[in-house]
Subunit: 160 residues, 2 copies
DNA sequence: CTTAAATATTTCAAGCTTGAAATCTTGATG
DNA sequence: CATCAAGATTTCAAGCTTGAAATATTTAAG
């Protein structure tokens, strides 16, 4: 007989692992669903939405490196996505007066309109998907997620 | 004066959106850190680890389609990863007696050993990263994540 | 001014991922 | 048996992502 693992008495490390797997599953399911809806309902992609979302909060534009930091993705990645947005006339690159290395990226009017529509749909999707969580659930999870992130922030600091 | 947004009185949909963004951030940070450690410490990748992990729990092997369902990734994706594992003699494809369409994938002895080492390291990393969460935090978050997933499961059922 | 280090961005190869089309096999129906 | 839908897998093009190398520019030091 193989002994049936009793989860209640598992070592803490195993419980943390199970939590991580569940957290990852939840966030993957949601992210995939959002991707799918962007693709099917708007013929659009999540990475492009994310870049436009960052730009929408910066009317004066963002430098490539700023987008990269905000979204925590590589510089090369941003180059590719902004290229696509620019080709479709949704964003444009403008020179930075004092620095010929850098460029500011800004949404065009067309880009602003498109983002407004996508953004409204996106918020509604999330509201639907997280519909079973009330104010209390949200407050609680936020606090615990913050506590999780602390560890990673600590590590980043100590990695000097 | 632009009114400062008071998060406490935001509509519930906005709060849900903020929670989603925080959840996504947390899980992305952790996943990226795990990827980085696999890459730097073991010259390995997370997708390959995931496939080996599924295989390790099935001594008799898994069909390609079963791996695909377990990991919730496309069939074509699994083909590519299993090809890589096979090339490195970590897994092998064996014929299914009654069905010439399908194949069973199994870890080799070499694959088992490699996975055991990676798996131990992986659990320790997660234990470290989630180190600030105790039994209570874990139980609580598990319950709420389950409740979130219900919505997506419901939708999948209704999507018949 | 010259040089060297630091910054900002792009290019590129390699890997992951997907959805759709293609191939081959099985099973059910007549 | 013949046909045809369903199933398992592979192939493929397109897109995202990364880290490292390459370019170009700025800044700091001497």
């Amino acid at each position: 007989m193989i002994p049936k693992p009793n989860q209640a008495t598992q070592p803490l490390s195993k419980k943390r692992l199970r939590l991580w797997l569940k957290l990852l599953k939840a966030s993957s399911l949601i992210e995939d669903e959002i991707r799918r809806r962007f693709r099917n309902d708007h013929d659009w992609t999540l990475p492009r939405f994310d870049v436009m979302s960052a730009l929408s909060r910066a009317p004066d534009g963002l430098k490539m490196g700023e987008i990269s930091k905000l979204l925590r993705v590589s510089g090369g990645n941003v180059t590719g996505i902004v290229d696509k947005l620019t080709e479709e006339d949704l964003a444009l690159r403008v020179a930075v007066p004092g620095d010929r290395r850098a460029q500011l990226v800004r949404l065009t009017a067309k880009g602003c309109n498109m983002f407004a529509a996508h953004s409204t749909a996106h918020e509604a999707w999330i509201d639907e998907i997280l519909g079973k969580l009330d104010e209390n659930d949200i407050k609680d999870m936020m606090a615990r997620l913050d506590r999780m992130n602390e560890t990673l922030n600590d590590e980043k600091k100590n990695a000097n």
